[in-house]
């Protein structure tokens, strides 16, 4: 962890570092890739950095270049920039800012960290390394939970919305998008990393949702964690995008993920099941009688989870639904508590 922090600091301080210590990469990229004079329109600068990224084998060269330039010009995407800004010459400050951000990209820093923000569902969220960057699939997990809540009989919904527990809240993407769309809902969000807890809190405050969320610094694999959660009362739903990558697949992850994101949020153990089984073991204690669990998992997991649940009849849980993501891979699970 300490080592990781050092790497991160070095990378983040990129342009600053170039003055002193032998910061090979940052130094080179500064010299080689400073923008040529006269090439100062937004379109020109996007093309320039696209070429640079391509030469250096940076994935999503054009997208990265467009997002960075658009961000500096105050837009979310290059397509949403006003056309007048496409051809207008950029100021030296803007060029310098683009330069600095692009240097981070040359170090394979994820675009979301470079911009310091990203969008999830309708929300704009602050992103900060090493907290896990929400993936687009997870937007669909939220959609599914929203559909389920909408279908609950009115008696269950009563005057209070459901009480939801999120395990591993990261930047707060799932919890906050649920809160923003379900005005009566309350969420208990837990994460074992301090950085995630404070980022979720910061995002909740940015979106003025802090009154309906309780963020707890808690490792659900730790002994006695149940006692921290029980006082909040029976939950209606547990939702989680737990670490689910098989340990043997971890090495193949792209440098953007391996060197910047908190690997604890990704590594699910030998079969990617470590945290999933912890959640499923804990859930029956926390859920009310008809409570549900919604999980994002690896496409190999639906079968593994199903047979694991059969081997654990005492949990009184059953897999009642599997949904595919937008690429057609089985990605989401709905597990329900059944009467003992």
């Amino acid at each position: 962890m300490k080592f990781w922090g050092q790497i991160l600091w070095t990378l983040l301080s990129g342009p600053r570092g170039r003055r002193g210590a032998p910061q090979g990469w940052a130094f080179n990229s500064w010299k080689t890739y400073s923008s040529p004079a006269g090439l100062s329109s937004a379109t020109g600068i996007v093309n320039h950095w696209t070429r640079v990224f391509e030469e250096r084998g940076i994935p999503e060269a054009r997208e990265s270049s467009e997002y960075i330039v658009a961000h500096v010009l105050g837009a979310k995407t290059f397509q949403s920039l006003r056309p007048a800004l496409w051809t207008k010459p950029l100021t030296p400050q803007q060029l310098e800012c683009i330069q600095e951000l692009c240097n981070h990209r040359l170090q394979r820093m994820p675009v979301q960290y470079i911009l310091g923000e990203w969008d999830f569902q309708g929300l704009n969220l602050k992103m900060a390394p090493p907290v896990f960057i929400p993936r687009p699939e997870t937007e669909e997990l939220v959609e599914w939970v929203l559909e389920e809540v909408a279908q609950r009989p009115p008696a269950v919904r009563a005057q209070d919305g459901p009480l939801i527990l999120e395990v591993g809240c990261g930047s707060g993407a799932i919890a906050l998008s649920l809160l923003s769309q379900l005005p009566k809902t309350q969420v208990i969000a837990v994460d074992k990393e301090e950085a995630a807890v404070s980022l979720t809190l910061e995002n909740a405050q940015r979106l003025q949702l802090q009154d309906r969320i309780r963020i707890i610094h808690l490792d659900i694999t730790s002994e006695g964690c149940c006692t921290h959660l029980l006082p909040w009362g029976p939950m209606d739903l547990v939702v989680s995008n737990p670490p689910y990558i098989f340990r043997k697949d971890m090495e193949q992850l792209a440098p953007e993920i391996r060197s910047y994101e908190d690997l604890v949020a990704l590594d699910g153990g030998d079969e990617g099941m470590d945290i999933i089984t912890h959640i499923l073991t804990l859930a029956p204690w926390l859920l009310n009688a008809s409570g549900s669990i919604f999980l994002e998992v690896d496409p190999r997991h639906p079968e593994l989870v199903s047979s694991w649940l059969q081997s654990q009849p005492d949990l009184h849980l059953s897999l009642v639904g599997v949904r595919e993501d937008f690429c057609g891979r089985p990605r989401f699970l709905h597990v329900q508590k059944s009467a003992p």
């Binding site: 997208e63 979310k76 949403s80 056309p83 496409w86 687009p136 669909e140 697949d249 792209a254 937008f326």
Partner: protein
């Protein structure tokens, strides 16, 4: 008979445009006029309860008759010897005339059939036509004008796609517009808009003529248009690899293909893929719906001068002449002489749209009468 009637109706309107007479729909409602006869028949038939929702109409018609009788009675007092009585009559008459005008206005709004989609939200599409970069520059100005108009009307405006040219112009763009009576107003903007001016790029000071096209597509509700999910192919840039936590890509562009019609809808305005999908879907729904509507509309309104839909899209509806500082709408022969304010997309554009709406109401009334004849 019918086309002859429409021709004379148009002459009547053109005359009014010049002399600023009261709206001719109200002239049609004058005693003995064709619309009045139609109204009497319509109200008469209501005893049989054929027409739902028209007690209001019947009441207004009755009140109109009463007020007109009152006016005639008062007019006879104008010849009275007594000066005081005469003065009193004059003020009574003025009041009566005002009430009659209001009543006629109300009757007309009750008579004009409102279209199904009038309450809908809509998709605005702008596309550069002939004239190269100059056409694209003008398209960009027009898109801005509609965005400002939406703000002026306090409508919701959301850009769905935007394809600029290298020189700051706009090839094509679309936006979703929603709010009270948005479609009812914007539907008159569909068609070819022509600009005449000296382009910034022109060195010899010659005036060029360029065009751009506006299309207005009503946004259907979920009930009005049902799309089978099996008919859709949704493409994203994450089709390969393990997906989920294994990858971190930022390309959020979405492309939806409607397989039966081959219609393609794309969106990359947003960083959230889900949001892009929603917007692309909105656009696709509007296209499919307008395709269906156009078949009906073409049949129903083939005789009209103000066209909404396919036919209207190829018609040159308006000219923006910069050297003369003039906007002319060719459908109602109306010219305005403050182009710059017009392009701000506030009162002047709103006035012109109101005139078009009045004229369209007038045409549908005339059409209604001639149909019954």
């Amino acid at each position: 008979m019918r086309s002859g009637f429409l021709r004379s109706a148009r002459r009547l309107w053109a005359r009014r445009a010049i002399s600023r007479m009261p709206p001719p729909s109200e002239e049609l409602l004058a005693r003995g006029g064709p619309l009045r006869a139609f109204l009497e028949r319509r109200v008469g038939s209501e005893a049989g309860g054929l027409d739902a929702g028209s007690p209001q109409l019947a009441a207004a018609a009755r009140l109109l008759n009463e007020k007109e009788r009152e006016l005639r009675d008062t007019e006879s007092l104008l010849h009275d010897e007594n000066e005081d009585l005469k003065k009193l009559a004059e003020s009574e008459i003025a009041l009566c005339q005002k009430e009659i005008a209001e009543l006629k206005h109300r009757i007309i709004s009750l008579l004009v059939p409102s279209e199904d989609m009038d309450g809908s939200d809509l998709i605005l599409e702008v596309t550069a036509g002939v004239g190269g970069q100059e056409a694209m520059l003008f398209t960009s100005e027009m898109f801005d004008m509609y965005q400002q108009y939406a703000a002026f009307k306090r409508w919701h405006f959301e850009t769905l796609e935007y394809f600029p040219s290298e020189l700051g112009g706009l090839r094509h763009a679309s936006a979703s517009i929603g709010g009270p009576e948005a479609y009812r107003h914007m539907k008159f903007e569909g068609g070819v808009h022509r600009v005449q001016r000296v382009p910034k790029t022109e060195r010899q000071g010659r005036i060029h003529t360029s065009t751009m096209t506006v299309a207005i597509l009503p946004q259907p509700t979920e009930i009005k248009l049902v799309i089978n999910p099996k008919d859709l192919r949704i493409d994203t840039k994450r089709a390969s690899g393990a997906g989920g936590q294994h990858v971190n890509t930022t390309d959020s562009a979405v492309r939806i293909v409607h397989l039966p019609t081959g219609i393609i809808s794309e969106c990359q305005q947003e960083r959230s893929q889900l949001k892009n999908r929603e917007l692309a879907m909105k656009k696709l729904r509007a296209r499919l719906y307008s395709m269906r509507l156009e078949e009906e509309t073409a049949k129903r309104y083939s005789a009209r001068k103000i066209q909404v839909g396919t036919k209207g899209r190829s018609e040159k509806i308006r000219t923006y002449n910069f050297p003369q500082n003039r906007v002319t709408d060719h459908r109602i022969n109306k010219s305005l002489h403050d182009l710059e304010s017009f392009m701000q997309g506030d009162c002047l554009l709103d006035d012109l749209i109101q005139s078009l709406k009045d004229y369209s109401d007038y045409e549908s009334l005339v059409e209604m009468i001639s149909r019954k004849d």
